[in-house]
Symmetry: none
Subunit: 280 residues, 2 copies
């Protein structure tokens, strides 16, 4: 059960009442969230001008937030801001120490993703995917999130994309052949089943694209089209972040290359979603 505690920060303040906000008040909320100094420094007229509404509406907004007039609201925000200013070190960087290694690790991994796609690399890989009859996706455990992202996004851009799950590998492998492309994600502690399947596909004349973490990876023997990216450890597990990142970059290039066809496809899917009221 939620005890109704007094919210302090501006986002919390707004969030607490975000449910029953009138349209114009919602605009005000967005404005003050986007520009935190508006409330602290701005006058009622400033805010009204920015949002494109009248001054009383601003005052009513302050009332709805639980303050007796705009002045009270501003006083509160200013006092919050004072606390932030007087103690920047403690307040902002409290737990930063603990998380800094993770942050550095992720940033570095993201760097390797971009270097792996440097030059004409991204274009070359995208070209293979664009020209392929079918695209088969294989992945190990830590790369599964990347494979899923790749599947769901590439499927919106072109047809014939299939994710090979462990249980269905046997039956589906037979459908692959020359003219197809296999995108294989696998990282250290390479999965026997993934590597085997990739080998079978390569033998069957399928062009293999390997996303892996080491030039010595068994996947590299299968193809010239491979990317080496770094997989950092986040806590006890290997991170899927770089795999997802490279998957998304690949898809975005493919979408660029397919331009008309891709946009047409996306539009169709969007329309379907729209009519089936998937969104709020």
């Amino acid at each position: 059960m939620n005890i109704t505690k007094a919210p302090s920060s501006t986002p919390d303040l707004v969030a607490a009442v975000s449910s029953d906000l009138t349209p114009t008040e919602r605009l005000i909320a967005e404005a003050v969230l986007a520009e935190p100094t508006l409330l602290a420094f701005g006058t009622v007229s400033d805010l009204a001008g920015r949002v494109g509404t009248s001054r009383p509406t601003i005052v009513r907004f302050a009332n709805k937030l639980g303050f007796d007039g705009y002045t009270k609201l501003q006083r509160h925000v200013r006092s919050e801001m004072s606390h932030l200013i007087t103690r920047p070190s403690e307040r902002i960087r409290h737990n930063a120490e603990k998380m800094r290694p993770a942050k550095a690790a992720i940033s570095s991994a993201i760097e390797t993703v971009f270097s792996a796609l440097e030059g004409n690399r991204l274009a070359a890989l995208s070209d293979l995917i664009v020209k392929a009859r079918n695209v088969w996706i294989l992945s190990g455990e830590t790369s599964r999130a990347g494979a899923h992202a790749f599947l769901s996004k590439l499927s919106m851009v072109r047809p014939g994309v299939r994710l090979l799950e462990e249980h269905s590998m046997g039956t589906e492998l037979g459908n692959a052949g020359p003219g197809d492309v296999a995108v294989v994600f696998d990282f250290y502690r390479y999965r026997r089943q993934v590597v085997n399947a990739a080998g079978i596909l390569a033998d069957a004349g399928v062009e293999v694209i390997a996303i892996t973490d080491n030039p010595l990876s068994p996947l590299v023997e299968l193809t010239d089209n491979w990317c080496e990216i770094e997989v950092p450890a986040i806590g006890p597990f290997d991170s899927s972040v770089p795999a997802v990142a490279i998957a998304e970059l690949l898809v975005s290039q493919v979408a660029r290359d397919l331009q008309e066809e891709a946009t047409a496809r996306i539009d169709r899917i969007e329309a379907l979603w729209e009519t089936s009221e998937v969104f709020l």
Copy 2:
């Protein structure tokens, strides 16, 4: 040789003219240096009252600092203060305002992930997950990769983790109740089904943790435990990278908190994999 550049910070400003200050003006200087918010928030009257002088003296002080009236001085101080309080991530966001290369977009988004977990935020969320009887995971489309990563990794750390898929939501929702926690990922173009399900869970007494992209998200109404992260666009699609990142950081903290239990679990699973020769 010092080129006479415009001094920026308040102390610099005061120091630049500290040589020829009248006694009263010196008092003013001391006051504003001691309390930085005085200039930013206070009126001429406030300051005069605090220092024990008259209002014109304050105005003359502003003039001596090189400003055309107190208002101009205050405007300058406020803009300085704005720069101080805006986070680095936001600064990146504004700098790369025009067109955002994918790399900058991803970096900025990763920044927001860490900001969202600053202070005791990460610990608090982890605590909820550690103490929960069951953990239910819900997600929309662009956050699916994050949800999957969360599921697969959290499952290795503790039991009772379930991903609510769209088709099975109806039947599974009934099993949730007080003592449980729901981790909900959903971003703009919020999915009707996800929001509805989250609402049902909240009503059933389930503690909701919301990972979303806006304080005005419908998920925020349901809980005090929410994180705002940025979702950049990579090509035509929204990126799953930040969702995956925050999922992994959460799991890593949970694993830290569960220490022995978690390592025991992980060891068991590893052993299973080992004997079934999953790896090469």
